[in-house]
């Protein structure tokens, strides 16, 4: 059975935009507080992005969405769906999508909803947008992948839990900067990481998050999509994998047969940490910032719980003119100001007052 996903009409990414907060916390600063020493060899990233005290998933989604709309050149009133994927929606009940849609001038003729699937909530929103536009229900949909990730103080995840994300205007192929060839989703019940209701921080299965979760799902999703399309890793100029740290995406790329040069442009975790739902989509924006017409790009997300979405794109001739219409992702990466652990702890509400 052909399990790869193809749309009824040809579609793609008409506009894309990114956002990364200005602030950075070095991983060494966390190690100094919780370990009393810094062993650079075991730090999972160099530094991570930290949202300012007035930033959250909604504010970051708005700026990424503005950038995506600028590149798309589409009137906000033409957008028929706004779907925000995140595991850090500010409200437990009240959609982020309505605030984002209102702030971007998209309301009221629009469907808005929030997606949740740990770190693949964003690509899930993209998959839904592919189906929505690909079936002809609407010409354009905005899929947003953004997180302000939570990490328990002192936990391994605190070193990487970061903030940032990307937004994509999905629309007709003839207007797209990257045309979707096909996608694929691979999902099983694998409880490697979870956060119960009313809990501030997630729990995780330590080493269990690796082989049966991250590696198995990404490898299966990537291989099945490539097999379905009859492609090899060498057919791709670039590949982006979910990046919870610096090591995992490099290892999974190697296992799948991709070389370092193919993952270079989209590997952002060493500089900004793990932006959870934003991670692989943000990597895709960095790849699109450098991409040339005719090149193929593979993106494979991973969300705990667990599943992976794999997507194959071909870059179109529209990329050259369109990418200059909004800030490049590396410009956000370079806009950095280092904060200390105390400032970060206060902003992220890790100091509890009784």
């Amino acid at each position: 059975m052909d399990s790869i996903l193809k749309t009824q009409r040809d579609i793609g990414i008409v506009g894309y935009g990114s956002y990364v907060p200005r602030y950075r916390l070095p991983a060494a600063a966390i190690a100094e507080v919780w370990k009393g020493r810094v062993d650079q060899a075991v730090l999972p990233v160099r530094e991570k992005s930290v949202p300012g005290p007035d930033e959250d998933t909604v504010t970051m989604a708005i700026e990424a969405g503005q950038n995506a709309l600028c590149r798309a050149g589409v009137s906000p009133q033409q957008i028929r769906a706004v779907w925000v994927g995140s595991e850090s929606h500010p409200y437990a009940v009240k959609p982020s999508g309505t605030i984002v849609a209102e702030a971007l001038g998209i309301t009221p003729n629009v469907n808005a909803a929030d997606f949740e699937f740990a770190c693949k909530a964003g690509t899930e929103a993209m998959q839904a947008a592919f189906g929505f536009v690909g079936s002809g229900m609407g010409d354009y949909a905005l899929a947003v992948a953004v997180d302000t990730a939570q990490g328990r103080p002192g936990d391994a995840l605190e070193y990487t839990a970061a903030a940032g994300g990307a937004a994509f205007v999905i629309g007709p192929a003839e207007q797209s900067v990257a045309i979707l060839e096909a996608s694929y989703s691979y999902v099983t019940d694998t409880p490697d990481f979870f956060r119960r209701a009313h809990q501030l921080y997630p729990e995780h299965g330590h080493r269990f998050t690796g082989e049966p979760a991250y590696f198995h799902h990404i490898i299966q999703a990537a291989r099945r999509l490539l097999d379905g399309l009859g492609r090899q890793p060498s057919d791709y100029a670039a590949a982006v994998f979910h990046q919870p740290n610096s090591k995992f995406p490099q290892k999974v790329a190697q296992e799948l047969g991709f070389c370092n040069e193919q993952i270079r442009a989209g590997l952002l975790a060493p500089h900004i940490g793990n932006t959870y739902a934003g991670a692989s989509p943000l990597g895709l924006t960095a790849v699109l910032d450098e991409a040339q017409p005719g090149q193929r790009i593979l993106m494979v997300s991973f969300g705990s719980g667990a599943g992976s979405d794999a997507m194959s794109f071909i870059v179109s001739e529209h990329i050259e003119a369109r990418r200059r219409l909004a800030p490049l992702t590396r410009m956000y990466l370079q806009r950095e100001k280092t904060v200390n652990y105390t400032q970060y702890a206060r902003w992220r509400k890790k100091i509890v007052l009784h």
Binding site: V58, T59, E63, P90
Partner: protein
């Protein structure tokens, strides 16, 4: 700010939607119902670009509980490029970096929270132009 007021002001606060007098072309933010210059009561909607410059500013260290999470913060008078002067917080900038006349751009940020259970208020703040090279 109560729920109805937050809802009523959302377009002003998210997108700087003001008004313009079609007779004398004057622009207003916040929007007015009647032009104070020519008394025309048929004003039209005007969306400001969000670009402006700092006219003056001050740094707040003492504030009400709703704003304590961001102390110290900067409140500025912003001259919008289209004319009106408005009051807004500055963000993504330290007090010692702010200069009178500094070009700024609008961003949507969290202004305040009612409390742990209440509404989150989003609205405009201004930051130094993030990427002047792409202006």
């Amino acid at each position: 700010m109560g729920i109805p007021r937050n809802w009523r002001l959302r377009n002003q606060r998210y997108r700087l939607v003001g008004s313009q007098c079609p007779q004398c072309q004057n622009l207003f933010f916040p929007p007015r119902q009647v032009c104070p210059h020519c008394y025309n009561s048929e004003l039209s909607e005007f969306v400001f670009s969000g670009k402006g410059s700092v006219y003056s500013f001050t740094v707040l260290y003492q504030t009400t509980p709703k704003f304590e999470f961001q102390i110290p913060y900067i409140v500025a008078l912003i001259d919008l490029n289209e004319g009106p002067r408005i009051t807004a917080q500055l963000t993504d900038v330290d007090a010692e970096e702010v200069r009178i006349g500094m070009p700024v751009e609008m961003v949507v940020r969290k202004i305040s929270e009612e409390n742990e259970r209440g509404l989150i208020h989003y609205g405009y703040k201004f930051r130094p132009i993030a990427f002047p090279e792409s202006e």
